[in-house]
């Protein structure tokens, strides 16, 4: 009876995959009879492996290191971890590859709510929803992790690759994300954050810090995204963001057409944008290399340049203006040559007037004389300030001394 029971369940799982539209394996013959076999892409569907991994996650306790061996595995369900103090470690991001292309339940590849979590040395790919989501924990480390989507149709890709939200003490380093339809590396509503030495490529937004506080983003490469590095503050969320440092990054050739889902925050990002500050405060952008972004190098924008409806006294008292933004010492070159006229119609006008689109501000202020504390340091670049009242008009503001700008200390994670 017991043997029959087990076989029945395994066969049922095969049927479950068939229902999900992955029937080739099931139609070829019962998978349990032949043992795990690699598919055309080299991925193995191995129920015993998946069950063992799930059991390890269920049984994990503080101090445990769950090692996932080298191999390409196709998993049927998203993984979850609730215990604190656990490390998940693969054999290397080229060696341990977990594919969720056939997941029947999810939608996240790996969802973690335990504190002091470390994930390293593995690849998660082709999840229906987000890649690796960490919700509400204190102490998160991503190291040498890859998240990617491989379907040539990028409209099918999940939203976020590396996705800590509502977390404290977040370290993301030496990792890479390819192909997310929203932000590759996305840190939302979190505090005390370091994002360093990562690569973000072919996403809509390469790296995005949203409604977060005290973030240090440095030595990353963002390339071939729609927009390279974004610092956003969105309305109607419980936590407003401020205090971000973006420095010593390369943001290059982020000219991929925007493929975000309509209506999402990043769907407004013009292709060819190196960096954007949207309605966020106390942002320092310095010593970055920003090259060959076809629309503009750095954009500073208020909610008034989005399709977000602005309402005074809305819940959370959302502030639609970017305040106290420092731009200093960046090397911005080769940009603005093929602007996204649909999403940023001002670019051709600026170019036609003989100005570069290295640093552009939408110009919305609380009062006409305000400068929102935006400071462009002396150097080769000028600040192009658009006139909100007169489309097509703008002012050219020379760089100046920003010595009075109150600088933030580097983020430290203990």
């Amino acid at each position: 009876m017991k043997a029959g029971f087990v076989r029945g369940r395994t066969a049922l799982l095969g049927s479950a995959l068939m229902v999900a539209g992955l029937g080739s394996l099931g139609l070829a013959g019962p998978a349990w009879a032949a043992g795990p076999q690699a598919d055309a892409d080299g991925f193995v569907t191995d129920r015993a492996f998946e069950k063992h991994l799930q059991e390890q996650l269920l049984d994990a306790k503080a101090g445990d290191v769950i090692t996932i061996p080298a191999g390409k595995y196709r998993l049927s369900r998203g993984l979850g971890l609730t215990a604190s103090g656990v490390t998940i470690k693969g054999a290397g991001k080229d060696q341990t590859v977990l594919s969720f292309a056939g997941m029947v339940a999810g939608p996240v590849g790996l969802l973690v709510t335990g504190n002091n979590f470390v994930v390293s040395d593995l690849t998660v790919q082709d999840t229906k929803g987000d890649g690796i989501k960490i919700n509400g924990t204190k102490g998160v480390t991503f190291r040498n992790v890859r998240v990617r989507w491989t379907d040539p149709d990028n409209s099918t890709h999940g939203a976020y690759g590396i996705y800590p939200v509502g977390c404290t003490d977040v370290l993301i380093e030496d990792s890479e994300v390819f192909g997310s339809s929203d932000a590759g590396i996305y840190v939302g509503q979190s505090d005390n954050i370091i994002v360093r030495r990562n690569r973000a490529e072919l996403n809509v937004a390469g790296i995005e810090i949203e409604n977060s506080t005290h973030a240090d983003v440095y030595e990353n490469v963002a390339t071939r995204n729609t927009g390279g590095i974004l610092v956003f503050n969105m309305p109607n969320l419980p936590k407003p963001g401020h205090s971000t440092r973006i420095h010593n990054n390369v943001s290059e050739a982020n000219n991929t057409p925007n493929f975000a889902a309509k209506g999402t925050a990043v769907s407004i990002v013009p292709k060819g944008t190196g960096m954007i500050v949207l309605a966020n405060d106390d942002v320092e952008i310095f010593d970055n290399d920003i090259r060959n972004n076809d629309t503009m190098g750095i954009a500073i924008a208020s909610d008034f340049s989005t399709d977000y409806k602005i309402e005074a006294g809305a819940p959370g008292e959302h502030d639609p203006y970017p305040d106290r933004v420092l731009i200093a010492g960046n090397r911005i070159s080769g940009g603005g040559n093929a602007p996204d006229a649909e999403r940023f119609p001002a670019a051709p006008v600026i170019r036609a007037a003989g100005q570069s689109t290295n640093v552009v501000w939408d110009g919305y202020t609380r009062a006409p004389a305000d400068d929102n504390g935006i400071c462009l340091a002396s150097g080769p670049d000028k600040l192009i300030r658009l006139d909100p009242k007169s489309p097509g008009k703008f002012a050219v503001i020379d760089g100046k001394s920003c010595d009075g700008f109150k600088r933030q200390p580097p983020v430290v994670i203990r």
């Binding site: 306790k61 503080a62 971890l81 509400g136 996305y186 109607n236």
Partner: protein, 395 residues
């Protein structure tokens, strides 16, 4: 040894085990070696002739509006240790004593011609046709799927999914869950789907109510709240209010008169106002995540009807009215607002309830089918809502 004594012993064993394990680690999920492999070993619910019956101390209960789980029917029994009481709370789950076990058995009606347990064809029906709170669950023409136990140990609650064996005599602990293909038969319509049994970590997705206090993995019951229990249901003392029954049985302290206790309504009762029905439906189906402190607190979209979080719970924006998408990805379907009054086709809420694609569908787990009747209610609620939302570019 009487059934009751055996139950009490089991409660004690469970408490001791709980204490022993939780001194080692704080995972919400039980470990392999801790718990009986078979449901029958708990001596809480077992087959008795043509019924599934509860130990005498069990109190069968029903929620004002239940969570939708692929049209599965649910038989719920609460076991509170003798001589102990739950402490009433107007908003949160009652404070239940250590040793409490909640057993929720998921089952489907099957056609009379089918041999019970073998049929993959399952039917839509109302739970009252199979269980009425007295004498247990009638098993003729029923396929038992799983029994989920929530066990309150000294260190906290533990969730244990037991999947019913093919012969339907007993259920086996399946901590990694299961996926069982079924066909929903509704008149002449047939719809294949995969019934997904959650694994023990999945349980925390819904049962971990608070992400803001550093106790993320502290899981709790969902249904044992005043507003869900405040209704009449047959059982001991006849068909009476369930809060009253728990008090008369000596299992509940601190409760006010039922008239002044919060009350959700039966989403299915068409005599009641649509707003109350829809809010009750959204509360039980969404608010375990969508509350100011839950897993989806970061969305700013909150459906809980408890009042513990202050006045903001009633703000139209907090239930999605004219609220624009932030982090929904493709889940937004390109639509502008979570809830657009009078315009259900512009409302992301309806779009996500109608989907069964992971990444778009809501809730994220716990269903493979779309709840047509629930969607009709939410649609009607949005249609009748007053006001209008416009994008900045439309103004």
């Amino acid at each position: 040894m009487s059934k009751f004594l055996r139950f009490a012993l089991w409660s004690l064993v469970a408490s001791v085990l709980g204490f022993a394990v939780l001194t080692h680690h704080s995972s919400a999920a039980g470990s392999r070696e801790d718990f009986p492999a078979k449901l029958s070993q708990w001596k809480l619910i077992q087959r008795a002739g043509d019924r599934l019956a509860a130990a005498p101390s069990g109190v069968t209960y029903e929620l004002a509006t239940p969570l939708f789980t692929d049209y599965a029917l649910k038989w719920r029994v609460l076991f509170i240790p003798n001589g102990q009481k739950a402490a009433y709370n107007p908003d949160r789950a009652f404070d239940l004593p250590v040793g409490t076990v909640i057993a929720k058995t998921f089952y489907y009606p099957v056609a009379p011609v089918d041999h019970t347990g073998e049929s993959a064809d399952v039917l839509k029906a109302r739970p009252s046709d199979y269980q009425d709170g007295v004498g247990g669950l009638r098993l003729a023409h029923v396929r038992l799927m799983e029994t989920r136990l929530l066990v309150h140990r000294a260190g906290g609650w533990v969730a244990l999914p037991y999947v019913w064996d093919e012969d339907q005599r007993d259920a086996t602990l399946e901590r990694v869950g299961d996926a069982i293909p079924l066909t929903m038969v509704d008149g002449t319509e047939r719809k294949d789907f995969v019934y997904v049994v959650p694994n023990a970590n999945d349980c925390a997705n819904c049962h971990a109510p608070n992400f803001t206090t550093g106790e993320i993995n502290h899981i709790e019951p969902i249904g044992i709240k005043a507003r869900h229990l405040n209704r009449d249901f047959p059982g001991k003392f006849g068909t009476i209010n369930q809060l009253t029954r728990l008090q008369r049985l000596g299992y509940l302290s601190g409760a006010p008169a039922v008239a002044s206790a919060p009350r959700n309504v039966d989403w299915h009762d068409e005599r009641l106002p649509v707003d109350a029905r829809a809010r009750s439906y959204l509360d039980i189906n969404c608010s375990h995540c969508h509350s100011p402190v839950g897993a989806a607190r970061t969305t700013g979209l909150w459906f809980d009807q408890g009042h513990e979080h202050g006045a903001d719970w009633a703000s139209p924006r907090r239930i999605g009215v004219c609220k624009q998408i932030v982090a929904g990805g493709h889940g937004g379907g390109g639509l502008p607002f979570d809830v657009a009054p009078g315009e259900p086709e512009k409302s992301i809420l309806l779009y996500r309830l109608r989907s069964n694609v992971p990444g778009t569908m809501m809730p994220e787990i716990g269903r493979s089918l779309v709840h047509a009747e629930g969607i009709a209610l939410v649609r009607s609620w949005i249609e009748r809502m007053e006001g209008q939302c416009r994008l900045a570019s439309e103004q």
